[in-house]
Structure formats: C-alpha cells, structure tokens
C-alpha cells in the first residue's frame, strides 16, 4: 500500500466517509446518492486545494516518497531501447549512477541518471542514491563519449546528495563533481537535465549543467538539504520545514530564479500515483526541447548553455561614489 502523508489524511478520511455512506445506503436501502455526489465533488475540490497548494516541505516529502518512480521506472516508458553501459574504467561501477545509450523517439541519446533503491537491500547497493567519485567518473566518461559521437545527453537527477563518507573524500569527491561541471559546460551537443526527485546540492548539480533544466512538479533542487540547513542555522534539524520555505527550492521557485526552464506536470498527489502518465508528460516535454535544441548548431548550443550559466546570480553593481562611501564606512 502507498504510504500516506499527514496532509493527505483529510482526503482519505473523506473518501472513507463516502464509502461508509455507500455501504450504509446499500444495507439500509436508503437513497443517499445526492449526499454522496456532493461529497465526491468535495473530494475533488479538497484534492485541488491540498495538492494544488503544497508547501515546500510537503513537496520534499513527495519527492522522497519511497514509491516515487525512479529512473528505472521511467526508462522503459521513455525509451524504445536502453543499453546500459557500466563503469568508470578506473575503480568500480557505482550503482547510484546509471548510464548508457538509449533510443528516444528514434534519436540515439546518452542517458545518465541517479538512482535510489526501492528497498533497503537495493538502497545499500545504490548507496541511497548518493554517488561516490566513481559514479561521477562514469557519468563523465559516458557524456564525453556522447560529445565525441555527437549524441544528445539526457540526465536525470535524483539524489539526496553526493556520498559523504571517508571513501568519497579519499577518492576526490570534490574534483569528481567539478570535472562534470566543467565538461558539461563545454559540450557541443544538446544537454537536457531533468530533476525527477531530490536534487541534493553539488551532487545533483554535477548532472545539472543542461541547456535546458526541467523539473518534475513535486521535485526539489537545493543548495543544501533542509535538515542540514536548519541544523546549521538554528541548531535544530527539526526546523527543516522552515528551512525548506527559506531555501526556495521548489520547481516554481527555480523557474522564477532563472534556473529551471519548464516544469513537468505530475498527476494529482505526485508522480507515484500514475507513473505512465508522468512518463508521458516527461517524454513530451523532453521531446519538445530536444527538437528545438537539435535545430541549433553545436557552437551556438554551447554558447547558449554558457550564457545561461553566465546569467545565473543576483547582485548589484554600484557607482564609484557609492563605493567610496561604502569603503569609508568600513574603514
């Protein structure tokens, strides 16, 4: 059974109430059809109200839902073929990063995705979707090959963050991520990055340097996990909800801030309520952007991606006079 969130309980309770009424009506042979119809309308309204106004922290919960579809759920729905290619050719095959060559609506593409496990056993195998340096090295190797063969790149982001253990430090987690950022920014092929679940910090960004960045409606993409943020700022990780609001990391926030280009619609209640439908939406939106990107020349594509990155950031430039005043204040 699908796990329920607190905020979903009013809906479930109402649906339960309707079913009780239906049962009662049948048993006692009393016509309650009008009352039931009214309640059913209310369910629709309630769903719209609740799911249409999810708070950031509620979206975090949906994004982390154990039954939220992962890359392996979408792959057979998105691609006509997918040949998984493994390994960094250096140290290991990191199973929290999956990649290969896929056929997407007739176009051969390189795919790189982060994958969490569906149960404890798989989560251990996939390190809870937290890649080690070898995962980023694998991603880099596959993306470099896409560049070599002129193949568009689709990345799918779904990680709580890069692995944060001694092994990751020993093998250069920082450099592994940095190399991905630098390489992706320089490719001449179309790159589309889609956040499908959690977009956790630098470990997510390592696959996020797309010409186009897409986000599923209930995913989030943040500089820091809300719990860690709360812990650092307010010495209280329980204030994650407040941090979630402060960090402005929902798809809608990121679109406003110029990072996300389009939000992919999810079924009411989240992608896990209808994987097929979500995959269909993903396919449509990716296809639209891919077609558009493929009409550009390689140099233009690269330049536009660079300009997109270049433009991210908010600051003000002040006049020399204001600067002098500012410096005086500091002296």
């Amino acid at each position: 059974m699908v796990q329920l969130f607190d905020f979903e309980k009013p809906i479930v309770e109402l649906i339960q109430k309707i079913s009780e009424l239906q049962k009662f009506s049948a048993e006692k042979e009393i016509d309650l059809s009008q009352e039931i119809a009214t309640l059913e309308k209310k369910v629709v309204l309630l769903k719209q109200e609740i799911y249409g106004n999810l708070e950031p922290w509620q979206k975090v919960q949906i994004a982390r839902h154990p039954e939220r579809p992962n890359f392996y759920d979408y792959a057979p729905l998105l691609f006509e073929d997918f040949i998984e290619l493994k390994g960094d050719r250096l140290f290991a095959d990191d199973r929290s990063v999956v990649g290969g060559i896929a056929l997407f609506r007739g176009t051969a593409v390189t795919v790189v995705a982060q994958v969490k496990g569906r149960d404890t056993k798989e989560n251990i195998k996939r390190n809870f979707g937290m890649p080690h340096p070898e995962g980023y090295h694998k991603a880099l190797r596959l993306m470099d090959q896409a560049e070599k063969f002129g193949r568009p790149i689709l990345t799918f982001i779904d990680t709580p963050g890069a692995a944060c253990d001694l092994a990751a430090e020993e093998r250069g987690q920082g450099e592994a991520i940095a190399r991905c950022l630098q390489a992706m920014s320089c490719y001449h092929v179309p790159v589309i990055s889609t956040v499908i679940g959690e977009g956790g910090s630098g470990g997510a960004l390592a696959l996020g340097v797309g010409n186009v960045v897409l986000m599923l409606e209930n995913s989030f993409y943040s500089v820091i996990a809300p719990e860690s943020c709360a812990s650092i700022l307010w010495k209280d990780s329980a204030k994650a909800k407040e941090a979630a609001a402060a960090l402005q990391f929902t798809a809608q926030d990121l679109q406003r801030l110029g990072v996300v280009d389009e939000i992919v619609h999810e079924p009411q209640g989240g992608a896990h309520k209808d994987t097929d439908h979500t995959a269909g939406q993903l396919s449509l939106v990716i296809s639209k952007h891919l077609t558009s990107l493929m009409s550009e020349t390689p140099d233009v594509l690269r330049e536009k991606r660079h300009q997109k990155l270049r433009s991210i950031g908010v600051y003000k430039e002040i006049s020399q006079k204001s600067l002098d005043n500012f410096e005086k204040r500091l002296d």
Partner: protein, 305 residues
C-alpha cells in the same frame, strides 16, 4: 589604474583553540575562521594553537604568520596573503563595485552580510584583480575566510568568473587561492549554480591553454572544492590545511563515521593523489613565480589550440 590597497588588519588575531593535534573535527561550516579575537594587552605576543609556543607577533608577521617553532600556518586574511605573494604595488583590484543582494530574503542574511563586512573590512568573500608575482603577470583571486567563511554566493561567483574571463581576454594565467566553507546557502540555488558558472569559465580558460594554479588553504570545503578549487592544472596546498568535500562534522553526523586523525589534511589529500604540491607559505611566492615563468606565453613549443 594600479592602486595600492593593502590594508593592515587592526587586531592581533589569536585563535582560541588549543588543539595540539590536527583532527578533522577542527573545522565545520559552523566554525568561524578566526575562532576568537582577543587582543592581548600590548598586542605583542601570540600563542601558537598547535605547539603552544608563545611567539613575538613581530616574528610571526615576518615569518608569513607561520609559527617559527612548529611551522603551523596561522589563518590569514586575503589582503595579508596578497601582500605576501605579489610584487609591491603590482596589484590592481577588479570588480569591488559588485555588491551582494538578498534575493531570497533569507532569514538573517542581511545582518550577517553587514557583520561580515565589518569584520573583514571587505565587501565580499573574494578579492580579485591583476598582479605580478616575481615579475610574472597573473590574474589573481583570493578568498577572504573572514567573510562568511569565504562562502560562495552570487558575488563571489560573479567576481571569480569575471576575473577568469578577463584572463582569457588578456591571455594571462590565473591563480585562485581558496579558503571556503562552500556554497553560501542563503542564496539557495543561485549559490549552487555559481559552482557551474565558475567551472564553465575555467573550461574556457583551459580551452585557451592558459595556466590555472589553484592554491588550497585551510579550510577549503563543499561547493568550492567541488568547483573552481579542484580544477587547477596544478593544485598546491598549504601544509596541514584541511581540504575536502564534506566537512568532518557532517560526515560524523550523517554517516556516524569518525574520520581518522589526519584525514582531509593536505598531506592526506596528497597521499590519495589529489594534490600536486604542498608548499609552505614562506616558499609559496617562489614556487608560484617559477611555475608562472615555466608557463609563460611564448615559452611553449607549440600549444595546440
């Protein structure tokens, strides 16, 4: 355009930590760079936090703020570092007219910015410009650790990116000296993408076959390690500097893993193949000067652009 803007720090800075041995828990994003600022009555004496030796402040200054007894490298400000590294009067500062906004209206950010400006005497967490090192022209960026841990928000990212872009225009090498807790969370996703922005600029620099030396100083972590600080052609660290992606406190909290003593030091990183060179602060200028000289334009046989 050349303007001497060296500033003297106004206080004798005495880190209060008395840890004798370097353990990874010495640094975390919560810890300020200079743990406390006590002014000694006469400002003449400083106690080394590593070996406990009481040092003449004057001797310490003359030794690049490296303990004369145990070679402990005291943390220093960006301007102190500048003074130690570049040829006299050669520094021209760039982009000090870019100021920080609070795009997310993040709780408490405004106050913290003001406090950091007061404390550090500069407007943001990095100083950029043009200078000469032993006669070799170079574009330089130095993180200011006293400014919100040297963390990277929009302004730090923008200033570093502009410095790199100008290096490409001028066909000059770049040196970035890092001290940072990572991406600045108060600017959210905008901070995160500064990692991509600076890395992209460095990608262009690399394609132009221009040298980039990254100097890692204590401490360098998070989104800075995972972007510009790791992308040097040559990576130099100061001895015993703590360098990593995840801070030891976070590793302990999230993974319940206690790092061994010596983990994440410069030496640990070098052992694991991640650092080219460990160079003491008193030697840094000479090593940078030589490396710049060996990479001078025209010195090459025939770089293939």
């Amino acid at each position: 355009m050349f303007k001497d803007i060296f500033r003297k720090t106004k206080y004798v800075t005495i880190p209060s930590t008395s840890t004798q041995k370097r353990t990874p828990a010495d640094i975390s994003p919560k810890e300020p760079l200079n743990i406390s600022k006590k002014e000694l009555p006469d400002g003449l004496w400083v106690k080394c936090p590593k070996c406990g030796e009481v040092l003449f402040n004057k001797d310490l200054e003359e030794n690049a703020r490296v303990c004369t007894a145990c070679e402990h490298h005291f943390r220093i400000s960006a301007r102190e570092r500048l003074e130690l590294l570049v040829d006299e009067n050669s520094f021209e500062e760039w982009d000090n007219d870019i100021l920080t906004l609070d795009p997310l209206e993040f709780p408490g950010y405004g106050g913290k910015l003001l406090e950091a400006q007061e404390k550090s005497g500069i407007s943001e967490g990095v100083l950029t410009g043009h200078a000469k090192i032993e006669g070799n022209p170079v574009v330089l960026a130095i993180n200011e650790g006293n400014f919100m841990m040297g963390s990277m928000g929009s302004v730090v990212g923008e200033k570093i990116t502009r410095a790199i872009e100008r290096a490409i225009e001028l066909r000059l090498p770049v040196i970035i000296i890092s001290t940072s807790g990572g991406a600045r969370m108060q600017e959210g996703i905008l901070s995160l993408y500064q990692m991509a922005k600076t890395s992209a600029a460095l990608g262009r620099l690399a394609e132009n076959h221009l040298l980039y030396i990254s100097v890692l100083t204590d401490p360098t972590f998070g989104g800075v390690t995972a972007s510009y600080a790791s992308l040097g052609d040559i990576l130099i660290a100061e001895p015993n500097a703590l360098i990593g992606f995840t801070g030891p406190r976070v590793i302990k909290q999230t993974m319940r893993q206690e790092l061994p003593v010596g983990a994440q030091t410069a030496e640990f990183n070098q052992e694991h193949g991640l650092i080219d060179l460990i160079v003491g602060r008193t030697q840094m200028r000479s090593v940078l000067g030589r490396l710049l000289r060996y990479h001078q334009e025209g010195a090459q046989y025939g770089a293939t652009v």
